[in-house]
Symmetry: C2
Subunit: 219 residues, 2 copies
């Protein structure tokens, strides 16, 4: 059996009283690193119920409050367990928590075991599918490019996050965190040599796709 | 025991004859998505040995040829095993293969199990450390943003890849592959709602870092 990468949901820490007065900013990602506000999902809920405009908004906030609280609790829990950095993530489907995970980098000796990647991996295993288009993810902090890539690849429909990357950067984390959603770090700042094969080498590597395309199902 | 995510090194496929005439392009990533050629590692090897200028270059090409061949073989092998898409990756340290892996997305029901992520995870486990600054990675195809993020986080010192993303895109893979290294796709094209907590919600999530910074080792 593979070692569990998520903690079970334990009693909540004493954080709830501090969550009063939630405010939210919402964006829908558009091509080319532009942010828009033209497709807000809870906006359409309000439109559908004009007589009770305030109630659905409060409901959505309460719901988001609840799941983000779990993600923040996971962040603290991960540090208490010495599993990794202070990051948590929760995958939700139909108002139910599918998995609640935290950073497992140290525990698993795995630099890819960020909270979001771990949560996506565990949610897919639990649900028995590689796409989570009926799920949302709540992250305690803005996802780094690796994690946002994983969110994109899993087809998760909605991302809610708490802290801006700068809060993590302030205590020493890599500022590339900020690149996925806002592009304010330096994603490719690594002084790493990158070499691309050309000529026959590139041709051979490219032929892999043409030669195998009949043998696997696109996903 | 966790299920192995890498294949062992089996006898090479009959690809070697096609690798004659390798040509290479090399870049060193600089901040701000700029590519430069000012810090070529094998360039300095040539400078240090002016009397035998050709030999080190051929050696480097042969060496890269050998390891990229393994990555391409892994790509084919992964499809033959129905483990996932046609992508392979090899991590090398001191001229020795640490792990040779392929895409395991279907096998593990895990959308994050790309070849590069799998190879990094397995190499870290094998070497017992979360940073691979003494390693190189050979990828059969240009890494997607998630994978490049993983390469960056693992501190791998050198990346060599074969096919341009367009070869994969041509048979139906997500064009976000091309965004990490060249920014020619649409990394954030997903029509996904992204919501950031503000006010007390953001404050509480940001406090995680300040409140835990003494309890974990930065990495």
């Amino acid at each position: 059996m593979e070692e569990a990468q998520c903690t079970s949901l334990s009693p909540p820490l004493s954080l709830h009283g501090q969550f009063d007065g939630f405010l939210w900013s919402v964006a829908v990602i558009n091509p080319g690193f532009c942010f828009g506000v033209s497709k807000l999902r809870f906006g359409s809920v309000l439109d559908a119920d004009p007589g009770h405009g305030k109630l659905p908004l409060v409901s959505v906030q309460d719901r988001d409050h609840k799941f983000l609280t779990k993600a923040v609790e996971e962040a603290y829990r991960g540090v208490e367990c010495s599993d990794g950095g202070p990051f948590g993530a929760v995958v939700v489907r139909n108002d139910e928590v599918v998995v609640s995970c935290h950073n497992m980098v140290l525990k698993h000796t795995d630099p890819t075991a960020h909270a979001e990647v771990t949560a996506i991996r565990e949610a897919c295993k639990k649900l028995g599918k590689i796409e989570l288009s009926d799920c949302e993810i709540y992250a305690s902090c803005e996802p780094c490019p690796m994690c946002f890539g994983a969110v994109h690849l899993s087809r998760i429909k909605r991302l809610v996050y708490g802290a801006k990357a700068e809060a993590a950067i302030a205590i020493g984390f890599d500022d590339f965190i900020a690149d996925a959603l806002r592009g304010t770090g330096y994603y490719q700042k690594a002084n790493m040599e990158i070499k691309k094969a050309d000529g026959n080498g590139a041709l051979l590597a490219e032929q892999v796709f043409e030669k195998t395309k009949e043998k696997f199902q696109m996903y």
